[in-house]
């Protein structure tokens, strides 16, 4: 593995690599700072830029933008009480009160170091588990891959919205959308309605752009026209001494920092929950384990360190199921998977074996961007926070124009723009009715794996699917899926029994 690490780091730092990492980080920070636009949307919008790029460079850019977005969100959470990303919401609880007390520098310093070190812990844990993942993945045949991909969708549907039914509906819709076009087994085109366009299937990039970027831009334009109340801003004076005090606090509360990072890594490794859950759990852990809880919510630095550490540690964790099994846990890792698929890289044993250096190209960028973003963030915090008061209508205009151009750039087809717009409308309806979007796009990414695995299972069993429940790992996964799907029925029944 040492050879792969050296080769990966060398490839990441060769040629324009460092420049791409820097550009991606700065772009990610800007996206993280802007209200209403998530890091995932930022990643999707730059996908078309990378079509003609070598895979290494594309991965460097995505990973850097990913790493850059989370600390950008923390800056606005601390200075103006507006989390740039939903994952920074917990940071506002203590970060903003600290800023109001004139301790903004301390909060920024603590969050910068917790972010960078947390990401490092997540990456180190990922590297340490690669040998284990390589062994585990060898136990996985078609039955296990089918069950795991299905479990991924079910878990994401379960945790990503208020209603399990809506989440499962969204996941099922993703499976259906993925059916159009050439069938991976027979090579026959299905559900193309006699059109040449649908023979290639519904293209994924325009769907992603529509469901996330376009839908979010419409929602921003129509429902959130107010500019942040500038009068609510905390004093933005920042000082070097304050930064140092904040960084020292991370070492003073090092145990909490490490535990929060581990919480983030574990939550990240489970497909679905994502950063918001990781930060919530880490903050809860900080409060639960504190001897003196009275400061939380009023400007306790532990309330900044815990969520920020877990937020960035989860990125390393979320790459585990993505790289080993092709089951992305978050939209960001889904975009990464899409980029790998686009360049013909197969995840699983191939990526963790002969292509392992590629993983380290990605991790080098993620590692570097997390440190760069912390340094730049500290230096430019005041100015970056001011970007948050950019009117949302301006952001909407930029996103809509970029979405249309991006959809067109995918293959140069006008129909791709129409598909993007159609899915923009679907995404907007989903936002309006709180139907989670993530299960649908993750399911769309997993359709091919699911269909190929199921057909292999049927071939091995001479038309019988029994292999699915005769293999122990697959059986356990299927039972877990059944419990998740049945949970809307089980929970009320359990409640009534308790009464």
């Amino acid at each position: 593995m040492t050879e792969a690490i050296l080769e990966g780091v060398g490839r990441a730092l060769a040629g324009p690599g460092p420049l791409i990492i820097l550009l991606g980080t700065v772009y990610g920070m800007l996206v993280g700072v802007l209200p209403g636009i998530s890091g995932a949307v930022g990643m999707i919008l730059i996908v078309p830029v990378t079509f003609a790029w070598p895979l290494d460079h594309a991965l460097l850019l995505f990973a850097a933008a990913w790493g850059g977005s989370s600390y950008g969100g923390a800056i606005t959470a601390i200075l103006i009480n507006i989390p740039g990303e939903s994952t920074n919401a917990m940071t506002t609880l203590d970060g903003y009160p600290m800023a109001k007390q004139g301790r903004a520098s301390e909060a920024l310093g603590a969050s910068a170091l917790a972010t960078a070190l947390g990401a490092t812990i997540g990456i180190v844990v990922l590297i340490a588990t690669i040998p284990v993942l390589r062994s585990v993945v060898l136990f996985f045949g078609p039955a296990e891959f089918f069950a795991l991909a299905l479990l991924g969708i079910a878990v994401i549907a379960f945790v990503s919205g208020e209603s399990v039914v809506k989440g499962l509906f969204s996941g099922a819709l993703g499976l259906l959308v993925g059916l159009h076009g050439f069938n991976p087994i027979t090579g026959v085109s299905r559900f193309d309605f006699g059109t040449l366009y649908l023979q290639d299937g519904i293209p994924l990039f325009p769907v992603f752009i529509g469901m996330f970027a376009m839908a979010q831009a419409i929602e921003l334009a129509v429902h959130h026209r107010t500019v942040i109340d500038v009068a609510e801003q905390a004093p933005m004076a920042v000082s070097f001494a304050g930064f140092v005090r904040g960084m020292r606090a991370v070492f003073t509360h090092f145990g909490l920092f490490v535990r929060s990072s581990i919480i983030g890594t574990i939550v990240g490794a489970i497909p679905g929950p994502g950063g918001a859950v990781a930060t919530f759990l880490a903050y809860g852990h900080a409060v639960a384990t504190a001897k003196d809880k009275s400061g939380f919510g009023k400007g306790d630095i532990r309330g900044v360190i815990a969520p920020e550490a877990s937020n960035d540690a989860k990125d390393g964790g979320s790459l585990m199921p993505t790289l080993a099994f092709g089951v992305p846990g978050t939209v960001a890792s889904g975009v990464m998977l899409l980029a790998l698929q686009f360049h013909g890289v197969r995840v699983g044993p191939e990526l963790l074996g002969p292509n392992l250096a590629l993983v380290f190209v990605l991790l080098t960028s993620l590692f570097a961007s997390n440190w760069i973003t912390s340094i730049i963030g500290l230096l430019l915090a005041r100015w970056l926070a001011k970007l948050s008061i950019v009117p949302t209508t301006m952001i909407s205009a930029v996103v809509i124009v970029t979405s249309v151009a991006g959809a067109l750039a995918t293959r140069g087809l006008f129909e791709d723009v129409l598909v993007m717009l159609a899915f923009g409308v679907v995404g907007y309806l989903f936002i309006l009715r709180k139907v989670p979007i993530v299960p649908m796009v993750i399911a769309l990414l997993l359709v091919k794996v699911l269909e190929t695995s199921l057909n292999q299972v049927l071939q091995i069993g001479d038309g019988s699917p029994a292999l699915l429940w005769t293999r122990p790992i697959s059986l356990v996964l299927l039972v877990a899926i059944a419990l998740i799907v049945a949970s809307p029925l089980i929970r009320p029944a359990l409640r009534s029994i308790r009464r």
Binding site: L175, I218, V222, L408, G412
Partner: protein
């Protein structure tokens, strides 16, 4: 999202579920026209779609029935709701109009036209801000697509070809 809450929200839920049900049913029926290998997973996915859509539809209808009819709106609520609808229709019209511009005149004309129409007439920014952003955005697109990546968009801008 007050304008899509209460009974109206439940109705919208039912419409989304019904559309999903229709789509899943259509694919289920069509899948019988393919070989067994091509049909099996399609049927599994369609079954999942039908079941979840039906459950979602039933839940929406139950919610609709359980929700009291929307109380008479105050003047302010009514104005807010109308405002959201107006903005939604305005944005939809702008996007659709700009797509026609895209088809006829190409991606750069689209970017400029949409940015001007959106920023000036929808968001009511000053002409100065509008033009600064519209020109900046168009120039950025041109530099990125035409100069850096050397992309041409032959499918659009039919009047200019």
């Amino acid at each position: 999202m007050g304008f899509a809450a209460g009974r109206r929200g439940a109705l919208l839920d039912a419409a989304v579920a019904a559309a999903g049900l229709l789509y899943a049913s259509l694919l289920a029926v069509l899948s019988f026209g393919y070989t067994v290998e091509a049909r099996v997973f399609a049927l599994v996915a369609a079954a999942a779609g039908i079941v979840t859509a039906v459950v979602y539809l039933v839940a929406s209808v139950r919610e609709y029935r359980a929700t009291a009819p929307d109380a008479p709106q105050t003047e302010r609520e009514g104005a807010e709701r109308r405002g959201v609808w107006r903005r939604l229709l305005f944005v939809a019209a702008l996007i659709l109009g700009s797509i026609v511009v895209l088809y006829l005149f190409g991606v750069y004309a689209f970017g400029f036209a949409f940015a001007v129409a959106f920023l000036r007439f929808f968001a009511r920014h000053s002409w100065r801000t509008t033009l600064q952003l519209a020109i900046g955005l168009t120039a950025f697109d041109y530099v990125m697509f035409a100069m850096v990546f050397d992309l041409t968009f032959d499918a659009v801008g039919v009047l200019l070809q």
